[in-house]
Each structure stands twice: as C-alpha cells, then as structure tokens.
C-alpha cells in the first residue's frame, strides 16, 4: 500500500499494522511514537491498528533539546 511516512511517499509491502511498518522501517517500537492522520496511536495498539492506502503516518523519536 502507498503511505505518506514523515511527509514522504512510502511503499509499504508488509502487513498493514503499525508494528509491521515499524519493523520494515527499522524503528524500535519502544522508542517511537506514532501518529496516523494526526491521531496518536498508543503503543498498546501498534499490533491492532490497521493502516490504509493513503494514510499519513508520523514516526517520532526523542532527541536532544533544551
């Protein structure tokens, strides 16, 4: 399916769950926050929330900052 991940077009080939997308992107589930179409997805729902063609996904991590 075709997603938009962090503002860039992204072809996702695996199963349509957040967990699978994170695995494909090599993002650690424990260190990544996820928004789909502007809504935050709780970690507990990473295995169950289904992605759809055209979804806008944001993957957010911690970085240094003041």
């Amino acid at each position: 399916m075709d997603l938009v991940v962090n503002g860039e077009p992204y072809r996702h080939n695996g199963q349509a769950t957040i967990s699978e997308l994170l695995r494909e992107c090599q993002a650690e589930a424990g260190r990544t926050a996820v928004m789909v179409n502007g809504d935050i997805v709780r970690k507990s729902a990473f295995d169950t929330v289904r992605l759809s063609d055209g979804d806008r996904v944001e993957l957010i991590v911690i970085t240094a900052g003041g």
Binding site: N6, T32, V61, I62, A64, G65, G66
Partner: protein, 262 residues
C-alpha cells in the same frame, strides 16, 4: 526532604534543570548531566528517519539514578501543535512533565503568550505537570499559575543568547507574587547569573547553552550547580540591607591620634 523544589506532587533536591541540546556529543552531554546533579532534564522530539540511527539518549539518561525527563514542545507554532507534541512526549518518556514552549519566530524564539496560555489550559486538564516557558510578564505568570501550571518559567534573555538577566526587574515582580515555583529559563551565560537568580528568590534555573557551549561542559555544569546552591543558601540566609554610607566593621577608636597629640 529539606528545602526541596516542589513541582506538582513531585519534590526534587536539585534546583538546576538542564537542557540536553547543543552538546558536541551524547557522551559530553551525559557527563554534564552527571556533574550538574540535575534531576530534571529536557529533551525534544524529532521525526524518525529510516536508515538514520536514533540518538541513543534514553538508555544513558535512564542509567542516571533519579533523573526525570521533561519533553519539550519545541517546534510547535501554536497551541494545537504544542498539545500534540506534549502528548507525543508523554508517549515516549512516560513523564508527567512537559516544558511548554511555543515560539513561532525563529529569529528571536520569543514565546507566544496567547498560544502558550491556551495550550497550558488544555494540558493541565489532561493531567500534565506543565512548565511553561514564557515572557517575563508578571500578569501572564499569575494567569498561568491560576490555571494550574506546576511552575512558571520566565526568560532571562532570548534562548541561547547568553545575554543574562535582561529581564531582572520583571523577574523580581514575578517572584514576589508567585505561589508556584519560578524557574528562570533561557539566556543565562554564567554561574554568577544563576546565583543571582537564586539570591533574588528564584526557585530554580534551567540552563542549556551556557553549559553545552562551554569549553569544558562538565566543569561548567559543576560550576552552575555550585552557584545555584550558593545563591539559594544566600537567599535563605537573608542578604544584609544595603546602605548609602559606609558602616564601619572595626571599632573607630581614637587612641592612635591621641598618642600623637601627647
């Protein structure tokens, strides 16, 4: 705990909060955090880029005992974005704290008081312990206190400018009237400014650039920690009242002059 910094239902023994940005390396940052004795450190959010390694901050920070992460909302241009950033920060850090900062103009990075107030109302309702970065405005400080912010964080000068306590007269007004802790955030350059902040009754300081951009960040972190302690002790001890004229500390006896006259 004696003389703790109380933020919401949490009490901290250190009155120096540290930002983690601008350090030359993660290792330098970790050494500075340890040297500072800080118990609250701020972190930021960024997009994950596939193929680019994640900054390994969480593990080394988590290894420091007693450390609480304070995710910030830097990058948010309005209240809506800040609320979303705070929620994401809570997902990532599991911390009840948020450093609320909304500064839409990258040239001066001054906080937007209206959006900050609106975001603070929402975040307090959602159970966050809100630490709002704000202009040094006594009226706004009171309003943010009234809606339930855990502290107020007026600026000393523009972020990263190192211009020191340019807002001193307003800071004194804020401190005089505040019933929540006043944490002076941004603009400090030297430990003496941190000490002065504490001497006038500030409850804590948040420092980042002054430590990260020092030639020896670890030593500077230690210097700031000592200055904050000294300033706090001085405030508790009570400064002597100033006088316009000299007041002798030794007895002004006349026996020398008397001896010459005989």
């Amino acid at each position: 705990m004696v003389d703790g910094l109380k933020l919401g239902d949490r009490v901290f023994s250190s009155r120096l909060l540290l930002g983690t940005g601008k350090f030359s390396s993660a290792d330098a940052m970790i050494r500075a955090v340890r040297a500072s004795g800080a118990e609250l450190v701020t972190v930021a959010l960024r997009r994950f880029h596939p193929g680019r390694p994640v900054d390994d901050l969480l593990a080394p920070l988590a290894a420091i005992e007693g450390l609480t992460l304070v995710p910030n909302t830097s990058g948010a241009r309005d209240a809506k974005e800040a609320v979303r950033a705070a929620q994401l920060g809570r997902e990532l850090c599991g911390s009840p704290f948020v450093k609320l900062e909304i500064h839409p103009n990258p040239h001066h990075l001054l906080p937007d008081p209206i959006e900050t107030f609106e975001a603070a109302k929402i975040l307090v309702r959602e159970g966050f312990l809100v630490l709002p970065y704000m202009p040094a405005d006594p009226v706004l400080a009171k309003r943010l206190e009234e809606i339930g912010c855990a502290a107020v964080m007026p600026l000393g000068a523009a972020i990263g400018s190192g211009q020191g306590l340019t807002t001193m007269s307003m800071l004194k007004l804020i401190i005089r009237d505040a019933t929540v802790p006043v944490i002076v955030d941004a603009g400090l350059r030297s430990p003496s400014e941190a000490a002065l902040t504490m001497e006038i009754g500030g409850d804590a300081v948040l420092v980042n650039s002054a430590i990260a951009a020092a030639e020896d960040p670890e030593l500077m972190a230690s210097a700031f920690a000592a200055a904050v302690r000294a300033g706090r002790d001085a405030w508790k001890a009570g400064l002597m009242p100033p006088s316009d004229v000299a007041e002798a500390t030794s007895p002004l006896t006349a026996f020398l002059a008397d001896g010459e006259s005989e």
